[in-house]
């Protein structure tokens, strides 16, 4: 019963508690009074019957003295007036029956043998024996037996009364309760409604109403104070977020603009360096050609860096969009492998490409440009940090019910990385070691951009590495880019 109350409303709980308490108290009180009344009534009944017996005894002194049984019977027959007297008898001094009476309608029965004075309840009967005394001497005994119907009917009436009182009192209590329970439940419900409204509308300016200076009043105060703080904090956070967003947008815009502004003169530098080197060849000034080629190469490198920054700023600004198309995997591989060859040759590495059976004919549905760029980044990284070693590209297909996954594994026998370096690998502008930047060059943006691309397309890049042994980078991508993955990637990008 109590456990079933646990989920009841406050109103129901209050009602149940008050009703249970009052009804139990009323019943206990009522039954106590009934018990007390029963005892009192029994005492009264004994007293009443004793008096009646004494009266009969006093009236029958002459009849006993003068042996007038007829007169004694007549005296007893007066007991007819009390219908609860079932039997009565008068005994002489020796205890022999002298006259007897049975209630009219009852079968006549012989009275019990005379006993000393006293009263006793036996089953449903009250038996009273009283001595008949004349001039100080006992001259006989009177016996009166009564039924206890008075007691029974009185108890029945009493219990009915108690029930009626309990019902009426419960009804009145219920009426009072419906008026008064609001004193407790209203402020609590008010706090509850306010809390609900705050959590639903995120409107921290609403306040719970205070009804009094009790514990609930304190609760309301504390709650409102808490709301004040939350409101204040919320506004601070909003302001800070707005500022941060504005700043971020400004940064991205600035980067985009700057990249564009930087590219224009850079293209000019590269273009004129090309023209100059061609012109120098034509005019037979072969000696300046290598220097002009260095200008050209440095310019292209700077352009690549600026492009990376532009891409990153686009990703950060959430403006990087996927261009999903359907293409053959083999063509993409051929393309990447042919463009990476100069880099492979640069550090005298060898590149080994392994395609699992049938993978070459697989068609992918995803952004081919971004996948190509990611793969190129992985391979160029491997080539960059490996000298006179081996770089391998393995491509496999993992079939699955919810869609196939294509797995590119790029392994090298290069310098490798410590676990600490691996942890920082994908952070923007971070290479494994800042000293590597100076030694190997590069912006450190390649891997970060590649991983963002892959995630955008529903895949990921993971890395395993041991210093001095080499690194294995794994690019996993669904063969068909999925919408949810897209949405997730986009939200992460923001």
């Amino acid at each position: 019963m109590i456990s079933s109350l646990r989920n009841a409303s406050l109103r129901q709980k209050l009602t149940a508690i008050v009703m249970m308490t009052s009804v139990v108290a009323l019943i206990v009180a009522g039954l106590s009074f009934a018990m007390y009344d029963r005892l009192t009534f029994r005492d009264g009944l004994v007293k009443d019957r004793t008096t009646l017996a004494d009266l009969v005894g006093a009236n029958s002194t002459a009849a006993l003295t003068f042996q007038d049984q007829a007169s004694a019977r007549e005296i007893l027959s007066a007991l007819r007036a009390n219908q609860h007297v079932t039997r009565a008898a008068i005994y002489d001094a020796k205890g022999a029956p002298f006259a007897a009476y049975s209630r009219p309608g009852d079968p006549p029965s012989t009275p019990p043998s005379a006993e000393p004075e006293g009263a006793g309840f036996t089953g449903s009967r009250l038996a009273v024996f009283r001595n008949v005394v004349l001039d100080g001497k006992p001259i006989g005994t009177v016996y009166i037996e009564s039924d206890l119907e008075e007691l029974g009917s009185r108890m029945n009436r009493y219990i009915a009364m108690v029930l009626v009182v309990v019902i009426v009192a419960a009804f009145v209590a219920l009426l009072l309760l419906s008026q008064l329970q609001g004193i407790i439940s209203r402020p609590i419900l008010d706090v509850m409604r306010t809390a609900k409204r705050v959590s639903e509308t995120k409107d921290y300016s609403v306040r719970a109403r205070k009804y009094g200076e009790d514990e609930i009043g304190t609760l309301v105060d504390a709650f409102n104070e808490m709301l004040d703080r939350v409101h204040e904090r919320d506004q601070q956070v909003r302001t800070a977020r707005d500022a941060a967003e504005t700043a971020n947008r400004a940064k991205s815009a600035f980067l985009a603009n700057m990249s564009h502004e930087l590219r224009t003169p850079l293209n000019g530098i590269i273009g004129y360096a090309e023209m100059l080197s061609e012109e120098a060849g034509d005019r037979g000034r072969e000696d300046v050609v290598p220097d002009l080629m260095r200008i050209q190469s440095a310019g292209r490198h700077l352009l690549a860096i600026i492009n990376d920054i532009l891409d990153l700023s686009k990703i950060e600004a959430g403006r990087m969009e996927l261009h999903i198309e359907r293409f053959q995997l083999r063509r993409l591989i051929d393309d990447v492998v042919s463009t990476i060859q100069p880099l492979v040759a640069q550090n005298e590495n060898t590149l080994e490409v392994t395609l699992a059976r049938g993978v070459g004919d697989v068609e992918l549905t995803t952004d081919s440009i971004k996948l190509r760029q990611s793969l190129w980044n992985l391979l160029s990284n491997a080539c960059k940090f490996t000298t006179r070693g081996e770089v391998s590209l393995t491509i496999a297909l993992e079939p699955a019910a919810e869609g196939d996954t294509i797995v590119f594994t790029v392994a090298d026998t290069g310098i490798g990385m410590t676990d600490e370096h691996v942890g920082r690998l994908f952070q923007e502008f971070m290479q494994a070691d800042s000293s590597t930047t100076r030694k190997y060059g590069g912006t450190g943006l390649g891997l970060a951009i590649s991983r963002r691309y892959c995630r955008q397309m529903g895949g990921d890049i993971t890395v395993q590495s041991r210093p001095g042994v080499g690194s294995i980078l794994t690019l996993r991508l669904p063969a068909t880019a999925r919408r949810p993955a897209l949405a997730m990637a986009l939200s992460e990008a923001v």
Partner: protein
């Protein structure tokens, strides 16, 4: 203490029984346990004594609380000593009982109850006239006893001894007879003197 009380409580009926038994033996009335039926005169003797308990005499009758209540028997005693046995050691309202057998010369006014024996048939009218205003409860047996001014007359039917009471006579004698006794009695009145004469 308790034991002594119990012993006393137990002892009393035994003592009473012994006293009664001794009394009955001494009077020569040996009553067997099987047959407790009393003779007519024993019953009448008991009644005579018991009348005292239901009659109130005028306040000036007794000199003090210990003054005896006198039961007189005028003439021959028909009870054969039974009245002595019954009244021995008894007190009514604190007054000891004194049984007197009275001859023709004795004063009858000093009795509170006077039984007029059948032997006094001739003197009856005289006795009753003498005592008509005295506080004496006159008891007799003749059929015209009450009519002549006697207060209580023994009657007898087939089964039991009864009595009739002349309430006028009792009133004249300033005797107050309990309604309980009256309720058992056949009530008569004295016919008007002018009608009897």
């Amino acid at each position: 203490m308790m034991n002594a009380q119990c012993a006393r409580r137990l002892a009393w009926p035994a003592v009473c029984a012994a006293v009664v038994a001794v009394g009955l033996l001494a009077s020569g009335l040996v009553v067997s346990a099987a047959d407790e039926r009393l003779t007519e005169h024993q019953v009448k003797a008991a009644f005579l004594f018991n009348f005292a308990k239901f009659v109130t005499w005028p306040a000036d009758t007794f000199a003090d609380q210990n003054a005896p209540l006198v039961i007189g028997i005028a003439g021959d005693d028909p009870f054969g000593g039974a009245i002595d046995d019954i009244t021995r050691g008894e007190r009514v309202n604190g007054h000891p009982i004194l049984v007197k057998r009275l001859g023709a010369d004795d004063q009858l006014e000093h009795c509170q109850i006077l039984f007029v024996s059948a032997s006094e048939r001739k003197r009856l009218r005289h006795i009753l006239e003498t005592l008509s205003n005295a506080p004496v409860l006159t008891v007799g047996e003749p059929d015209d006893f009450a009519r002549l001014g006697g207060v209580i007359r023994f009657t007898k039917d087939q089964y039991r001894v009864g009595f009739e009471i002349n309430v006028d006579a009792a009133e004249r004698s300033r005797l107050r007879i309990s309604s309980k006794l009256l309720s058992l009695a056949h009530i008569v009145g004295t016919p008007k003197p002018d009608r009897t004469q």
